[in-house]
């Protein structure tokens, strides 16, 4: 139940992000979640989108450096300590957490968290066992 995340290399230049969102908007691709990691020189845009394969090829053709990575999207109870519980599971298993970002589902009451972990399959197994809800690509598309 890994989910495909699209990341794009961005120079810190005016209008680059606007350009990407416009390209995707024109193709009616929906951005479900998005985060930007930035340094003084460049940024890395990470997105969960409705059609990852198409997004990848459109952006590549538009001249961007694009990468596809596998991430896990989990549902977190929207209450104090919700995220902590999940992170604890991962930490106890000694799995390296590369990064995470959160978004809120428009329908549900729960928060959704995108996790990039070192060994995704192992993490999924572990989280499932602990009864953490992991979203499939299909569920994300339906959000």
């Amino acid at each position: 139940m890994k989910v495909k995340q699209i990341s794009v290399f961005l120079e810190n230049k005016i209008g680059r992000l606007a350009e990407i969102t416009k390209i995707l908007g024109d193709k009616e691709i929906n951005i479900r979640a998005l985060s930007i990691a930035d340094t003084a020189e460049f940024g890395i845009l990470r997105m969960i989108v409705s059609q990852p394969e198409e997004t990848y090829s459109i952006l590549e053709k538009s001249g961007f450096t694009v990468l596809e990575a596998e991430v896990i999207v989990v549902e977190v109870a929207d209450k104090p300590g919700g995220l902590a519980q999940i992170l604890e599971i991962i930490a106890k298993a000694n799995l390296n957490l590369e990064y995470l970002y959160a978004f809120v589902s428009p329908k549900g009451r729960n928060a959704l968290v995108v996790l990039k972990v070192e060994k995704p399959s192992e993490a999924i197994e572990l989280l499932t066992r602990k009864k953490v809800k992991i979203l499939t690509m299909r569920e994300i598309e339906k959000l």
Partner: protein, 433 residues
């Protein structure tokens, strides 16, 4: 393939006898017909009769590029204007260009030497030569054209630019040999890839690439992307254009056509002649040219010379792949560096794109060099740490190899300008007075 065995494989002693005979003639001729040389010889107290062995060459004065500029347009011609049939000039981005005037016999000589180059790279009458060097005042296009015609090969005089059409024709005409600058060869490969055409599957087998310094690792990159053997050709407008020297498939130096061009390597600071294998500035004397005849011309190109006969059968001396031009040498915080040396390090990075640019800036009175390299899916990561590690790794490799600390910045694909001719590798943003 050896175009002219008699001269290309001549025993050294015989060759030196021929060189001396021609050197005597040429000094005589310039002394008689070029006032500039007559005066220079007199100032130095040397006369044509003083040349009795090749060793006497060091008695003769050097000729510099600025002297050629001062002679603009026809001041240095050694033949009367009525005998000139063609002109070419250097690109002359600053000031007046350097003019080369060719007599009919010069054009025959030019055809001969470029035919030798193409043959050396394996060309025969059966080949289809895709000549993407610029046609016009630039010597590249016509120089190769003349040689290809002498061989009887089929030339596509496509010149530079309109790269999509170049790829289409390369595919449809089944070109076998590509002649252009190394940076343009890479650009052709890039455009072909976008068009969904795999150049490696086309009949193209050899590239005769030159007109700019390029590194050994750049060669590997070009060879793997185009599926060809990439060989270096050397020449300069002042001397004749392409056709001064050519690399054979042994890829161990460029054979210099010594029966026409007499090479020396000198210390660029003192002018002292250096021995075999020592690195310095290449100096050339034209032995057979009529229109533009130059004595000890300082090319500004850094190389070394090797007189050992080559496995290919040629006895002609070889010059090492040009490291760079003295003018392109950067002195950054006391370290001497050529852009091609940085290129060589960059191309060692697995899967790095061969598109880079060097930015030179002055910050707080110190020169700082930043290497900009285009990203590709192969080197990109969704983790900041890994991207920064890559930048650091590249900077470290450069520092370890060249002893210079540089900044490294990854930039978006296709943001570095593509070149149809000579690539501009350095952007100098220093505000010098």
């Amino acid at each position: 393939m050896i175009w002219n065995k008699k001269y290309e494989c001549m025993p050294r002693q015989e060759l030196e006898t021929l060189q001396l005979k021609r050197l005597k003639e040429v000094t005589q001729r310039v002394y008689q017909s070029v006032p500039f040389y007559k005066q220079k010889f007199k100032e130095r107290g040397v006369y044509p009769d003083d040349i009795n062995s090749l060793k006497d060459l060091d008695k003769l004065p050097f000729t510099t590029k600025s002297e050629l500029r001062e002679g603009y347009p026809f001041g240095l011609f050694a033949s009367p204007l009525k005998e000139i049939v063609e002109f070419h000039t250097s690109s002359g981005t600053t000031g007046k260009p350097v003019v080369d005037g060719y007599t009919h016999k010069d054009i025959i000589t030019w055809s001969e030497v470029t035919a030798r180059c193409l043959s050396c790279a394996g060309a025969t009458a059966k080949d289809i030569i895709h000549n993407a060097y610029g046609y016009g005042l630039f010597t590249g296009g016509l120089g190769i054209h003349y040689g290809a015609r002498l061989i009887g090969a089929k030339t596509i005089p496509i010149s530079g630019g309109q790269t999509t059409r170049q790829v289409m024709m390369m595919q449809d005409f089944k070109s076998t040999i590509l002649t252009c600058t190394p940076s343009y060869a890479l650009h052709i490969a890039e455009v072909a890839k976008e068009m969904g055409i795999d150049l490696r599957k086309l009949p193209l087998r050899v590239g005769v690439l030159g007109a700019e310094p390029w590194s050994e690792n750049m060669r590997k990159e070009i060879e793997s992307r185009l599926g060809i053997t990439a060989l270096d050709i050397y020449g300069l407008t002042e001397i004749i254009g392409p056709g001064v020297a050519q690399e054979c498939p042994e890829k161990n130096g460029l054979h210099i056509f010594e029966d026409h061009f007499l090479p020396e390597i000198i210390n660029p600071e003192t002018g002292e002649i250096l021995g075999e294998g020592e690195e310095g500035e290449l100096v050339l004397t034209t032995l057979t040219r009529e229109g533009t005849t130059l004595i000890r011309y300082r090319t500004g190109d850094i190389s070394r010379i090797n007189y050992q006969p080559c496995r290919c059968g040629r006895t002609l001396a070889r010059i090492e792949k040009i490291k760079g031009r003295i003018d392109d040498m950067l002195i950054i915080r006391g370290v001497n560096i050529f852009p091609s040396q940085i290129e060589d390090v960059l191309m060692r990075i697995e899967e790095a794109e061969p598109h880079y640019q060097l930015i030179l800036e002055r910050k707080k009175g110190l020169d700082e060099l930043t290497v900009e390299l285009e990203t590709s899916a192969a080197i990109f990561s969704d983790e900041v740490r890994k991207v920064e590690e890559l930048e650091k790794k590249i900077a470290q490799e450069i520092e370890e190899t060249l002893g210079l600390r540089v900044g490294v910045r990854l930039v978006e694909p296709k943001t570095i300008q593509r070149s149809m001719g000579k690539a501009k590798r350095l952007i100098d943003k220093r505000k010098l007075k």
